[in-house]
């Protein structure tokens, strides 16, 4: 066989080496802008949300022609934080980035986020610390310093289906009862009993921290003390509340939305009038509107033993600035405008699916006059709480606690045993 032409071999070798270099470069691609007037930021989101963010970028660059903004989207929430972690480890992270409420504590503890107190108080700031609703910061604040702020929020309200309630012979309106201070736990459970007796699902809940801790707090219980230690297992009110919660799940009156089958999931069950209540955020508007049944639904806060309002869980994501950014000034300009009342209004108006986390943007929730008691979103946000900082600081802890509650709901554990197991788990993972 003739020897390969030496020029050809050289060419092939160079080609192979180049392909390798391109491959390696592609693997390490991404990351923040290396100059001071380019802001790279990252988030997860649906195509509609990402389109809105691009529109925000365009508007921002019109206002600041000296700053270039690039969005680095990740479609899936599940993949987002592992990518961000890899970028932070390799010093290629974006200048500004979203962080989920289940991961923010870890990033704060690691010291990779820029401290924001001084910047938020500066003249350039459009987002003073007091502008935000304090309960929403959660694990984004540590030792008096702020490391991120909530992008927006989603209080878990109780959506209810007036048609399903009527089918179960319920004549009282939950929202009207709440307005008159008569929205008690007793009334709520009574309605659920009637729904179950009528062959309907009483209430549907997602199995995550906002469900169990909202139930505990609305019933007057205490899950964590101020030091972050779990005390729910030693609090008789909490044990009794969790016992009732478990009882209603075990007899099928309450249903865990996560375990409902594909094709007959919680959303389709709710819009076909097969369930009375559904604990969800403002994004439910899209679900009931697309099903063409919006007029049948309204919202109410969580019931309490005495009918007075009580703080309950508010889901939130956070926006942080990379502690190692080369574009700190431009990054803060973007950060503060993105979170400002104007920024949140721009992002959430016209079908937005969340509730502003800052004062001065409430009109986006009230403008459409839907649901009838939309003000409830704002009231619940004002007094609500984000996930407990101790729980949020340990990745996976919230999920593990939810798994313990699922065992209770499935009848595999009792309330005291579940809360004892949660206490052991929290002590093991947080040292408190």
């Amino acid at each position: 066989m003739p020897r390969a032409n030496s020029k050809m071999r050289r060419l092939l070798a160079v080609g192979a080496a180049s392909a390798l270099m391109i491959g390696l470069a592609a693997c390490s691609a991404g990351g923040g802008g290396s100059d001071s007037d380019t802001v790279v930021w990252s988030t997860w989101g649906t195509p509609e949300e990402l389109t809105r963010f691009e529109e925000f970028n365009d508007e921002f660059m019109k206002r600041h022609p000296d700053i270039k903004v690039e969005l680095q989207p990740v479609a899936s929430y599940a993949d987002y934080h592992s990518k961000l972690l890899a970028q932070l480890t390799s010093n290629t992270a974006p200048d500004v980035f979203y962080v989920g409420d289940d991961k923010i504590g870890e990033f704060v503890d690691a010291g990779v986020l820029a401290p924001l107190n001084e910047l938020m108080e500066s003249e350039a700031s459009q987002t003073k610390p007091d502008d935000f609703f304090p309960g929403l910061f959660g694990a984004a604040q540590k030792d008096g310093e702020t490391y991120a702020a909530p992008n927006d929020s989603n209080p878990d309200v109780l959506w209810y289906d007036k048609e399903a309630l009527a089918a179960a012979g319920i004549t009282e309106d939950p929202a009207a009862l709440a307005e008159s201070g008569e929205w008690t736990t007793e009334k709520f459970l009574e309605m659920n009993d009637k729904l179950a007796a009528a062959g309907l699902i009483g209430s549907m809940y997602w199995n995550y921290w906002a469900t169990h801790w909202s139930w505990v707090s609305s019933q007057g219980g205490t899950a964590y003390d101020e030091s972050g230690a779990f005390v729910g297992n030693d609090d008789p009110t909490t044990v009794a509340a969790v016992d009732t919660l478990g009882e209603y799940f075990q007899d099928g009156t309450f249903v865990v939305a996560d375990t409902m089958p594909e094709g007959a999931g919680a959303d389709s069950t709710f819009v076909t009038h097969k369930a009375g209540f559904f604990s969800q955020g403002r994004y439910t508007i899209g679900t009931v509107e697309s099903a063409g049944v919006a007029e049948s639904y309204d919202i109410v806060r969580w019931p309490t033993p005495d009918g007075a309002e009580a703080p309950t869980g508010v889901a939130a994501s956070y926006l942080a600035i990379n502690g190692r950014t080369d574009a700190s000034e431009a990054a803060f300009t973007f950060w503060t405008e993105f979170l400002s009342a104007e920024g949140q209004t721009f992002r959430l108006e016209g079908g937005g699916n969340a509730v502003p986390s800052i004062q001065g943007a409430d009109d986006v929730v009230l403008e459409a006059d839907y649901p009838a008691h939309a003000q409830t979103f704002l009231d619940m946000r004002d007094i609500g709480f984000a996930n407990h900082p101790g729980e949020a600081a340990v990745p996976g802890l919230s999920t593990d606690i939810s798994d313990l509650f699922l065992a209770l709901y499935d009848g595999k554990a009792d309330a005291q045993g579940t809360l004892d197991a949660v206490a052991d788990l929290v002590a093991d993972k947080t040292g408190k």
């Binding site: 390696l24 089958p261 594909e262 094709g263 996976g396």
Partner: protein, 325 residues
């Protein structure tokens, strides 16, 4: 002297040496050629070696090191000795993952290989087998993600499979992916279906490679079709079946993407949590790279033990033609 196919005479005598090599300085000239060839060889295998070092060797070494450390990717790494291993071996989730993974392997490997043998035997004499091979092989060349997503639709309560079962047996449509008792079976069905085509092709090639003279001799001795299969074809195919079982078992122990897509992470109540999913969850879900690496070392050891058992068992079940000779 021996006779080569085609009748050409072959000899053990060395061919005449290159005149250039025997010329003064010829040896040096040949060495220079070889040196240059070797250099070019290095250049050509270089990208592959670098790729292997970066994407295989380095992660392997890093994983071995991290197994003895505590590190979340952000803070400083601290050594913890065997703590990650002891914690993992006491972790109910890992034990659950091991049980699930072994169940997947025990269900999918024998059924998958058995089906593949049956299909390969059925196709061997079929004139239209190419068409069937294309159909069977299509899932092998289809992305696992796409396969899982298609099956996800079929497994829905209102999907084709559940509705058909409901119509035939008059029962409530099964919730394949939401019922902890069915979710693992759903994963097994998809795994068997996905790998079937490759095994059919391998076994078919093995069957066609059996010497016709052996088959003919058995026929002359009065062996019928079943006896031929049991005593001739399957024993002669056994080395290939053994090889496929090793590959299939290792592949089953590494089940991840099907579970991740099909059953939304680890299924209801961790019913489909596999070891690799457990490793992924610890590392990239919880940022616990130490325990995650320890779990991956445990998987490596488990794979080695199972493969060693398979090699031990092969002496009884695998028939090599050399042994017969």
């Amino acid at each position: 002297m021996t006779l080569q196919p085609g009748g050409a005479a072959a000899t053990t005598v060395a061919p005449p040496a290159d005149p250039a090599a025997s010329a003064p300085g010829g040896l040096n000239k040949e060495s220079a050629w070889r040196r240059r060839d070797r250099r070019w060889g290095y250049v050509f295998i270089g990208p592959q070696v670098v790729g292997m070092a970066v994407f295989v060797l380095l992660p392997f070494v890093a994983s071995m090191v991290l197994a003895f450390a505590s590190w979340n990717g952000l803070t400083e790494l601290t050594w913890v000795g065997l703590e990650n291993f002891t914690a993992q071996l006491q972790d109910e989730l890992l034990l659950r993952s091991i049980v699930n993974t072994l169940l997947i392997a025990i269900i999918t490997v024998p059924i998958g290989l058995g089906l593949a043998v049956v299909i390969a035997v059925a196709l061997e004499k079929l004139k239209t087998r190419t068409l069937y091979l294309i159909l069977f092989f299509a899932p092998v060349v289809t992305s696992t993600v796409a396969v899982a997503m298609i099956w996800q639709q079929m497994f829905r309560v209102d999907g084709v499979l559940s509705q058909t079962i409901s119509a035939i047996f008059g029962i409530a449509p099964p919730d394949w992916l939401g019922d902890p008792r069915l979710a693992l079976i759903a994963v097994c069905i998809v795994s068997i279906w996905s790998a079937l085509g490759l095994n059919v092709i391998i076994f078919l090639a093995g069957l066609q490679n059996i010497s016709p003279s052996v088959i003919e001799a058995a026929r002359i001795d009065g062996a019928g079709a079943f006896r031929l299969l049991r005593s001739i074809r399957l024993p002669l195919l056994s080395p290939i079946i053994f090889f496929s079982s090793i590959v299939a078992f290792i592949s089953s122990l590494q089940t991840f993407d099907t579970v991740f897509i099909l059953t939304a992470d680890a299924g209801p109540d961790n019913a489909t949590r596999t070891i690799v999913y457990h490793i992924y969850d610890l590392g990239f879900g919880r940022f616990e790279f130490g325990p995650s690496s320890a779990a991956s070392v445990i998987l490596l050891l488990l794979t080695l033990v199972i493969t060693a058992i398979q090699f031990g068992a092969q002496k009884k079940f695998v028939h090599y033609e050399d042994d017969a000779a």
